[in-house]
Subunit: 184 residues, 2 copies
DNA sequence: CACTTTCTTCAAAAGAGATTGAAATGAAAG
DNA sequence: CTTTCATTTCAATCTCTTTTGAAGAAAGTG
């Protein structure tokens, strides 16, 4: 089991990248984005696109697209120019910041839309009820629909709070993690 | 815009079911499961499979499979026998209970596995370091990997706490929602 | 038990999403 | 300006998931 340092590094990166890929794809991102981010995160310095393609066995095209998307989320930056002709990329290391940003900009929108749509459904029923005030079934549906609407609103607030909490009450934890930040 | 009560009901169900389908598919379930659950949740009484198929425009086979899966998660029950020959199904209405159960049994496992895998990756590197104690790059990777490991462990605890919190500190909120429970 | 209706299963079709490969675009160097 | 290398784009391809449709198992009925 004990092999050369290069082997060990490659295996460790593979394991971590694969794991992060699964995690992140459960969160609605492409697994390859997670693999690339992890590779960059674990690399001692910025890497050029062709190197990333080699190490992840993805095509140049796929790497380019994944890097673009990672860039839009601020998960990956173009590193300051090297002597090289190629562009080099490195990972944003403020992991909690990343998580908060994504939760804020994605989950929050998603739940927000759901709140709106449930609200619309309620309006539809209320309009119907005005013309037909004692349809029992209508009342029943309205009650349940309001339950869903409330639920979604509560969820919205929870997600909101989560994004804040990351900023505030997790500071001591981030302190522990920050030892590993910015070491690029 | 003001149409018959039947139209209004159908439109409201459609909107709500579609919305829930999107929400739930973001959480890794099939959208059709969300649609079916919503339909049952909003219906005044249990429905038979063929009716569900009609209303969701899914095939009998798809409905059967979706109901089985919903049943395994406890999201849908077979209702006490009617006079009818068919089986009738109704939705579990304890929505918070459902959410907690799913979070506990799915997200928690997922994050738990990630914690393990990051741990393995760390072990691989540590073994390599024992034979090669001052490889700088190895140390760097180990530090970053420990960051990911810590992060996953913190995430694990957060998910754990969420599943508990649902049970404990949200009781007042559930009180508000329980007006809509068990009204089947 | 035979007959009818309902339910489940599963191979194949359809659909969605991700990836490739190659052509087009862009950027640096001579 | 031309050449060369790097990057982006996008239609075609591949892969994975979901849905269908039909066969057969199960359950209810007389």
């Amino acid at each position: 089991m004990a092999d050369t340092p290069e082997h060990a590094r490659a295996r460790a990166i593979g394991l971590a990248a694969e794991t992060m890929g699964e995690l992140i794809s459960f969160w609605g991102f492409k697994a390859s984005m997670g693999r690339i981010w992890t590779l960059l995160y674990l690399s001692p310095g910025p890497l050029p696109a062709d190197r990333i393609a080699e190490l992840t066995s993805l095509s140049a095209g796929a790497v380019s697209m994944a890097l673009a998307e990672l860039g839009q989320w601020g998960l990956v930056h173009r590193a300051a120019k090297l002597d090289d002709r190629k562009r080099h990329y490195s990972a944003d290391t403020d992991v909690w910041g990343i998580v908060r940003r994504i939760v804020r900009e994605r989950e929050l929108r998603l739940v927000g839309r759901a709140v709106e749509r449930f609200g619309e459904a309620i309006e539809v029923l209320e309009a119907a009820r005005r013309e037909n005030p004692d349809d029992e079934e209508l009342l029943f549906m309205l009650a349940r629909l309001r339950g869903l609407h409330d639920l979604a609103r509560i969820g919205y607030r929870m997600v909101e709070r989560f994004a804040e909490v990351g900023k505030l009450s997790l500071l001591p934890i981030r302190g522990r993690l920050s030892a590993f930040r910015g070491a690029s």
